[in-house]
């Protein structure tokens, strides 16, 4: 077990006004609200969900890039939840993140060579010759031309930038990588290159990935297990194929049916089995009690809005339904 997350919470504070006197109206936004999962060595776990559901926040909290509000994160046998920065430092070289927005994550004033050299020397003291050798090795691993080393990030194409981001994560010797939307904003042909690269690296270097994406097809392809998130909670988790084909939570169904429908033109005339209007993303300002998905849930509607769904005392929790498949819902479909 390389990573074990128990009941992780991250609440962001939102101030209602610009004046301190008005801060009494402070609100807490539960971006991640009690999430537990684990990741085995050499495994890829996909994390899917709509924007704003807390996928990225989980990734950042696990790597301690943002402090968790509560919960427990055990990485490689070490409880890192409350570790000091000094204690955490040696572990940092083992876990890295590939950021979604590489225009922001790569320093625009540094050439590729300097970006990689900085990452290499942060954790290991090496001679110039050794750094150069290591850079060469990284280039080969991510299949990037050596001529790109003297380029600035802005001079690189999207796929090349992505490769630099991956190389930088590998540079420190990480074996656990949080990949935050590594294929988004890339062209289809380049997406496939990046997916293949990540798979090859996993095989060669024995990496473990937490693969955050809203691209369901890519997630299904690359992950062994998938966790589906809705508004800060995992609503369903299980083996990738089962999540895709035998999902039990109505939300997972909805996500996947959005995909299947796209595949045939005829299907576009079939009525969507949801209420229009209720389709817009959840508003944290108008929290619902009980099941978070109820306002959009076709099952809730079909069953004549049962009271158990909106009862604050009975918010559904993840439970095992066999075959490493977990669902949080009152009425699994």
């Amino acid at each position: 077990m390389i990573l074990e997350v128990t009941n992780l919470r991250k609440h962001y504070r939102q101030r209602a006004g610009i004046f301190p006197a008005l801060r009494s109206r402070e609100r807490f936004i539960p971006a991640v609200d009690g999430v537990s999962f684990c990741l085995e060595e050499h495994e890829t776990v996909g994390l899917v969900g709509e924007s704003g559901c807390g996928k990225t926040t989980i990734g950042r909290a696990i790597l301690r890039l943002t402090p968790a509000t509560s919960g427990r994160i055990v990485f490689d046998g070490h409880d890192i939840t409350a570790m000091s920065a000094r204690e955490l430092r040696p572990l940092r070289s083992q876990m890295q993140m590939i950021f979604q927005d590489l225009d922001a994550a790569l320093n625009p004033k540094m050439r590729v060579r300097a970006i990689l050299a900085e990452a290499i020397t942060t954790h290991h003291r090496l001679s110039d010759g050794e750094v150069a050798r290591r850079i060469g090795e990284l280039l080969e691993q991510v299949n990037l031309k050596a001529s790109k080393l003297s380029n600035f990030p802005r001079e690189l194409a999207g796929g090349e930038k992505r490769r630099v981001g991956i190389a930088r994560a590998l540079a420190v010797g990480a074996h656990f990588i949080v990949a935050d939307e590594p294929t988004s904003a890339l062209d289809v042909s380049i997406q496939a290159q990046v997916v293949n690269l990540l798979r090859d690296l996993q095989r060669q270097l024995g990496l473990s990935y937490l693969f955050i994406s809203h691209d369901l097809e890519v997630v299904q392809l690359i992950s062994r297990r998938v966790a589906v998130m809705y508004l800060g909670k995992i609503v369903e988790m299980g083996l990738a194929d089962r999540i895709a084909r035998a999902a039990r939570h109505p939300y997972t169904h909805l996500l996947w049916s959005a995909l299947v429908e796209g595949q045939s033109k005829e299907a576009s005339h079939a009525p969507l089995n949801t209420r229009t209007g209720a389709w817009e993303p959840f508003d944290f300002e108008r929290p619902v009690s009980g099941c978070r998905f109820a306002p959009r849930c076709p099952v809730y509607e079909a069953r004549g809005r049962p009271a158990v769904c909106t009862d604050a005392a009975t918010e559904p929790q993840l439970h095992d339904i066999g075959g490493r498949h977990y669902v949080a819902g009152h009425f699994p479909v």
Partner: protein, 365 residues
């Protein structure tokens, strides 16, 4: 195919890069036809010239010392117009081997001429929706007011109260959640999906003959995407508006398009009926189209947990356009017989079966 509504002939849109002293050939000889009531979808990766084609039609390019040439014929009941009419008088081209080498341009006159042509067309007969609806709407004006303004500007409805009724009608038509409430919202109070609905309402409110939708679902969540695509499909069958749909998402395109044009490196490499181009069973395809379709995860890839058939390399540089086929460097179907032709000469767009055109030496003579 119905009667043609918009015909684009040999459209070339070049920008000039001062620092590189070269032309960026964003659109390099595009020809396509949009028929009345039908949806033509332009598919391609970023930098292939899809959006620039749309902006050229709308006269929305502030091209600086650049060039737009070719012919865009727009036919309505009121007659036919060339949207690039007389623009060539404001531009002097220095050509060499059929390639434009230098340009001098009367910028002010050119701009004025564009406005003269487009004032009657833009927003009225051709409306456009954009990729990022939040930034396309004015953040300081309520959504309802923006739609009302468009109605008073582009339709005979001038009275404020009537215009408001019309905009509420359109908000309902695009299935906006509680339209009366949303009417007084500012764009920041709406989600991405709602903003896109508002944009669609605004575009349709003038009852245009042609709707240009530039990546209308990109950046929206999968579930929202699916409802927006459903809405566009519904509006298309109810209102019969011809649509130019620009998208890189094959799934969206396969749901909406009648015809598809695949663009690569500023040109159309394949053009024809959607089922033939996107379907798996037709063998006559441009290698790029085939590779593009294959590079998305399919049921089979997922089953085998195998790698994806990626297209190696990157899209060509629009400044230094290759002499031969633009896809040559990344193509995996070059045979020894045609290698020479591929590297040296750009193939022409050839009609293989009725209505289905491919630009590739594989289908040469």
């Amino acid at each position: 195919m119905g009667a043609p509504l918009l015909e684009i002939e040999n459209l070339r849109t070049y920008f000039h890069s001062r620092s590189k002293r070269a032309f960026i050939r964003a659109v390099d000889g595009v020809t396509m036809v949009i028929a009345r009531g039908e949806t033509l979808s332009v598919v391609g990766e970023s930098g292939s010239g899809k959006s620039v084609t749309a902006l050229s039609i709308m006269g929305l390019l502030d091209a600086g010392p650049g060039v737009i040439s070719g012919k865009i014929t727009f036919r309505t009941d009121g007659g036919e117009r060339n949207l690039l009419h007389d623009l060539e008088h404001y531009v002097t081209l220095g050509e060499q081997d059929g390639r434009i080498m230098e340009v001098s341009k009367d910028e002010a006159g050119w701009r004025k001429q564009v406005e003269r042509i487009m004032a009657e067309v833009r927003g009225k007969e051709i409306a456009m929706i954009f990729q990022n609806p939040k930034s396309a709407l004015n953040p300081f004006v309520t959504v309802g007011h923006q739609i009302t303004e468009a109605i008073r500007l582009h339709t005979p409805t001038k009275h404020p109260r009537e215009a408001k009724e019309r905009s509420l009608y359109w908000l309902e038509r695009v299935k906006m959640d509680s339209p009366r409430l949303r009417f007084d919202n500012y764009p920041y109070g709406l989600s991405g999906g709602m903003c896109q609905r508002a944009m669609i309402a605004m575009a349709l409110s003038s009852e245009p003959a042609l709707l240009i939708a530039d990546e209308p679902t990109t950046g929206l969540d999968a579930t929202i995407q699916s409802t927006i695509v459903g809405l566009l499909a519904e509006l298309k069958s109810e209102l019969g508006i011809a649509t130019l749909l620009i998208s890189h998402d094959i799934r969206v395109v396969s749901r909406l398009a009648d015809d598809v044009a695949v663009m690569y490196g500023g040109t159309v490499v394949e053009y024809g009926p959607a089922p033939e181009i996107l379907g798996a069973r037709f063998g006559l395809k441009h290698p790029y189209t085939a590779a593009l379709l294959a590079s998305r995860p399919s049921a089979q890839n997922v089953e085998e947990k195998g790698g994806l058939p990626a297209i190696e390399g990157e899209v060509p540089d629009p400044i230094d356009v290759p002499r031969g086929c633009r896809f040559y460097a990344r193509c995996n179907r070059v045979t020894e017989d045609i290698r020479d032709a591929c590297a040296r000469h750009e193939p022409a767009l050839k009609e293989l079966t009725p209505g289905h055109h491919v630009r590739c030496w594989l289908y040469g003579d």
